[in-house]
Amino acid sequence: MPATTAPLPVLHFRDVRRRFGRLSVLRGVSGRVASGEVLLVTGPNGSGKSTLLRCLAGLLAPDDGDIDYREAMPDAAPLSAAERRLRVGYVAPDLALYEELTAAENLLFFARLRGVPVELGAILLDRLSLPPDRAVGALSSGMRQKLRWAWALLHRPRLLLLDEPFQNLDGAGEAVVRELLEEHLADGLAVLAQPVDVEPSASWKVAEHVELAG
């Protein structure tokens, strides 16, 4: 029987702690997720799920703990918070795109920032059935959520952080987003999600849960 090698961890976080004033939100959270896996972060409201995702994205500095994120290849060095910030994909309610610009102009802008081919934006808009020439301010909440997904996948991240990722999506919208997600998972994407509205698909390779206390 041939020896199987475990997938290399993409993200390994240990004993992450974060306080807001006197309130201790994260009290030593640890977990790991590898390429092609989904790690679910569970816990009641206010237990710090979104805070953990913001820390892992590099949007919030933890007070203590170690976040080791590296590309899924042998001998890859861990990335700094600044490098991590530019490489992760992030879908969350607190993320908005420019309302004065159209959906296509938004993705064109971020494609230029990320140095990826500008055609990728048009491809994603087409896959998600989004009107390219409509201003973001005139999009429905479901369309805005699909645009968040397009924004998050535009640079083909290796780690995707999902905070209420299917919020406001109808059945067809959720189906097309799940299809995109599964394609990226098959391609080696690692996903960390807080499953308020995430029902894992049968095809997902779900890693251990991280359970946060309320």
Partner: protein
Amino acid sequence: MSSWLAEASAIFAKDWRAEARNLYALNTLGLFAVTTLVLVSVGLGPMGVTAAGAQVLPFLLWIVLLFATSAGLPRAFVQEEETHTATALRLAARPSAVFWGKLAFSLSLTWALEALVAPLFLAMVQLSVKSPGLFVVGLVAGGFGLAAASTVIAAIIAQTRAGSTLFAVLSFPILIPLLLLVVELTRNAVDGATADVVLRQLLLYDGSVAVAGAMLFPAIWNP
């Protein structure tokens, strides 16, 4: 084009595209400048032909420019935070590209404002300038200082809840030296005197604020 320059240029172009659609900064700066210009010209009349004009009017010109820019430039960062687009920008662009892209936007707005206000001001108060070249250099260098300082202060106040109040408090100590230098330079331009020392000090101020801002910005912008 290097990727850093491409990022900064994309932010500059995005800000102008959004501004062209919502006209927030253009309207704020323009209305404030025109209102104060009319007030000054009605209140003072053709003061440029009097002996006191050369001393007082350069100061009034820069007060108009200072308050007009203070009303509009802080929006560059405040709006990003208020509308939650700052998160997407943080996750997609290097802090240095954000700083220089925003500074370029503020600078272009300031220079456009100066190009509108300065000739109107000179005409309304009938002030003649003996060294027009030095006068323009003062506008360019003073505008750069205003834009650079406003960009840094705007980035700081965008992280707080008392934005407008804090802008006035923070900008006072930072902009007073600039105002003193640029008023002196403009007076020299009106009188036709040389201003080598003041110009060097003004350029030093501009360079210091821009370099300090670029160094501070990553700590302000990111946790």
